[in-house]
Amino acid sequence: MSVIRGYVDLPSRNRELGLIALALVITTAGFAAVQIARAQEFSSAPLIAALLFAFAYLVAHAVVRAALPDADPYVLPITAVLTALGLIEIYRISPQLARDQGIWMLLGLALFVGVVIAFREIRRLEELKYTCGAVAVGLLLLTIVLGTSVNGARLWIRVGGLQIQPGEFAKILLVVFLAGYLRERREVLAAPTRRVLGVGIPALRHTLPLLLLCGISLVLLVAMNDLGTSLLFFAIALAMIYVATGRLLYVGAGLGVFAIGALGAVQLTSHVQSRIDGWLNPWAVEQTSGYQIAQSIYTIADGGVLGAGFGRGLILNSAGGTIIPFAQTDFIFSVIANELGLVGAIALVLLYLLLAWRGFRIATAADDGFSKLLAAGLATAVAFQVFVIVGGVIRLLPLTGLTLPFVSYGGSSVTANFAIAGLLLCVSQRANRVRPL
């Protein structure tokens, strides 16, 4: 009897269930809207997709209800709305791609369930910090050695018929490593033993792993030919060092090193150089290197305040491809801004802000250093990735090839982001658990 009440009478979980129900209503309405707008092309597939989506989320919810009864109730529903939005827009671009994305979403939720069960006691993860760090570096080196180049950037490795983007997983492992390492060394890093030119410097043996990390990020920048990923890794590392030590000096020094490295990369590689040119003046190179960004901006502007409506924008060209190359991955934000307008674009950014807020909220509520650093690092990873990729497609920043978390087409991205959601829930369970008196 008490088991049943313990499973049913959970305020957080009931709230989560209500919000998931709301997300399912949005999902169904979205699929229906695309279906109505494009009735001549599509079949009953979206109904099946919506049902499968609902089923998968209800299973995930049931597992959370059993394993993490006191965890944050907002994270999972937010991922539901984001995933649904991505699925609907990808379905609108190509039903075939949407089928793949649906499968990855299911795999992602399976990984989420696995993480929730494996790390419901989150401190277990802290013991794996060096393993995580080693695996992260290994994955990145593997990418550089075995990687295939797509659109100028070397981000993928091919396993069987699948293309995997190890960077997405390395990002999480890196956060775990940093959380564990920084919790252990934060006192010595924050209170330096020596002074050089009036500036406190910690002992080399404490800083070496961090310097190594910075070095690897810069190597990545050149070897993978990708500004976005290395910028993201760097930002995560600096944010976590700041949270751990409170020393802005490290942040400043890190930014300086990165700026020099980035400038060098611009000089050395034509890929980065052309991205910068396209950013500074896309209209001058509209037909060549600025084509993507120019089309992206035309597409966004075309949406106006209210947008064309789900399935009613002009996204595909006469050959059936997308007018903006890579619309389903890097430029999914532009597609959403076109069809849902400024209103939809703002709602999307606010959803990420909400997700980041829950992440940082979980960090502040946590009662141990590792959990705090882990949650803050993961929240930063998601928020900063959104900033870099959306900033790229709206020409606030140079364009880089990152995915929009939960929304962009791509198996590695979707599954990795579900793992982040799982870890955040695990951290929040520990903080919110009802302690026995």
Binding site: A294, Y298, D302, L342, V349, A356, T364
Partner: protein
């Protein structure tokens, strides 16, 4: 540590709000200026949403129409030209690659239903709602039968040239052929770079020395200004001296004493040179101006595709009115005088019309999608080029040209044809630009025409006059 986590959250919040600010800028502030950018491919797709009206001939042959297809779940329309190169230069093209030309350009507001009137406003509203806009259909004055015959004749000679036939009572363009032609469905890209310039509408953009056909203008001016009378006697030597140089008859022939009328029928250069000197440059140029020379005809066609005729300097520029020239040679159609076939068809039209110049009119009527007539252009008279009496005199003489003069090859059974030949030496290996202008039936003209064949061995009477006869037969034939 919580304090620092809060700070980090503030930084992330600022970053995400910056995204909202920038997106707002594009979707609200910059939207208008981006929409207006020519390189914005979305503009092209927006045009494709319009079901552009069709263009057909007066005898019901469709020259241009819209073909429905789909693009990203919406219906789009692309342009199709069922008759290929039949009237490719006149109709022009509406293409994503090359833009618009010809009537496709000037009639664009009606074809796309975006005129400034009430129905245009209704269409603009429909477009905002995302509904398909159906443009108006255009029916030309053009005769497919006549046009086809003209193209067949010119292509049969493998010649570059042009045939223009106007309806003297309305100005209606019944035939406007230009060779070589191109297929606007498939051959536009090649045509853009073809050295034979198939895109050039030789009827309105081709400038040629008019040769003896210009004697009609000289005669009109001289008779109206009483510089000569029809039965005035002339000596008729083989050559005379004009402006310090010898000026001779065609093939150096001497005619002996004859009257002025005989000189027009037999195209005697020496007589016309003398008349020109008596008349003077000022009066002749005033008459040319009344015929439409020295300016672009004000008709419904892109300005750069309809060139003015007149006297050109060595740099190829039209010289200002009244620049001193050798009037004796001007009077026989030389002296760097260049004219378009359309201009010379207008000369014939003026004679046929009792002296009135009329605006060339491509359109018979414009119909709304529901079949109602939106516009039916009325004839527009552009003034008088000669008196009615002079026109009657020239009509009689031009009839004789066909009956027993240089234009006998233009004879059509059962149809009184009046005309004037022209053979302008190009100065290249004895090649000529061969002309024949005229009208029929002589007493109540329904057709006024100009035929030009570039760079041929034959004369106007040998090469151009038979083409005129064939086209007239096709126009009056049972199919019309």
């Amino acid at each position: 540590m919580n304090r620092r986590i809060s700070n980090l959250f503030v930084v992330m919040t600022v970053a995400l709000l910056a995204l909202i600010a920038m997106t707002t800028y594009w979707q609200v502030w910059a939207r208008g200026s981006l929409e207006a950018r020519q390189a914005n491919v979305r503009l092209v797709y927006r045009d494709l949403a319009i079901d552009r009206g069709s263009i057909a001939t007066s005898d019901g042959v469709v020259l241009a129409q819209s073909k429905a297809g789909t693009l990203d779940g919406r219906t789009i329309y692309t342009r199709e030209y069922p008759e290929g190169g039949l009237a490719a230069q006149l109709v022009g093209y509406s293409s994503l690659l090359a833009g618009r030309s010809g009537l496709e350009r000037t009639l664009d507001p009606e074809l796309t239903g975006s005129t400034g009137d009430l129905s245009g406003m209704q269409n603009a509203f429909d477009r905002m709602k995302g509904d398909t806009v159906r443009g108006d259909d255009v029916i030309l004055r053009l005769s497919a039968a006549g046009q086809q015959e003209a193209m067949d004749q010119l292509e049969g000679l493998q010649a570059r040239g042009s045939v223009v036939v106007l309806d003297p009572s309305t100005g209606g363009i019944l035939v406007m052929a230009s060779t070589p032609t191109y297929n606007p469905n498939t051959g536009l890209e090649q045509a853009l770079s073809n050295p034979a310039s198939p895109l050039l509408n030789r009827a309105t953009q081709g400038l040629y020395p008019p040769g003896s056909t210009f004697k009609v203008v000289t005669a009109a001016s001289a008779l109206d200004n009483e510089a000569v009378t029809v039965d005035q006697e002339f000596p008729g030597p083989d050559c005379i001296e004009a402006d310090g140089q010898e000026l001779c008859n065609f093939r150096g022939r001497a005619y002996g004493p004859h009257d002025f009328g005989y000189a027009l029928v037999h195209s005697i250069n020496t007589t016309f040179a003398q008349v020109g000197m008596t008349l003077g440059q000022q009066k002749l140029e005033a008459t040319m101006k009344a015929f439409g020379f020295f300016r672009r005809f004000p008709w419904d066609y892109p300005p750069e595709q309809s060139l003015p005729s007149g006297i050109f300097n060595r740099q190829g520029n039209l010289v200002p009115f009244d620049t001193p020239v050798d009037v004796a040679r001007l009077a026989i159609g030389q002296e760097r005088l260049l004219a378009t076939p359309l201009q010379m068809a207008e000369v014939a039209t003026a004679v046929a019309n009792g002296g009135q110049i009329i605006e060339p009119q491509p359109v018979q009527e414009v119909r709304a999608p529901d079949g109602s007539v939106v516009r039916r252009p009325q004839p527009v008279y552009l003034g008088r080029a000669m008196t009615t009496e002079t026109a009657a005199t020239l009509r009689e003489l031009m009839k004789q040209v066909v009956d027993d003069g240089t234009g006998s090859a233009a004879n059509v059974e059962g149809l009184d044809v009046a005309g004037k030949t022209g053979t302008a030496e190009t100065g290249r290996n004895g090649k000529n630009d061969a002309w024949f202008i005229g009208f029929a039936p002589a007493e109540a003209p329904r057709y006024a025409f100009a035929v030009l064949v570039e760079n041929t061995d034959g004369t106007g009477g040998d090469v151009a006059a038979p083409i005129a006869a064939s086209v007239l037969r096709a126009l009056t034939g049972p199919s019309s």
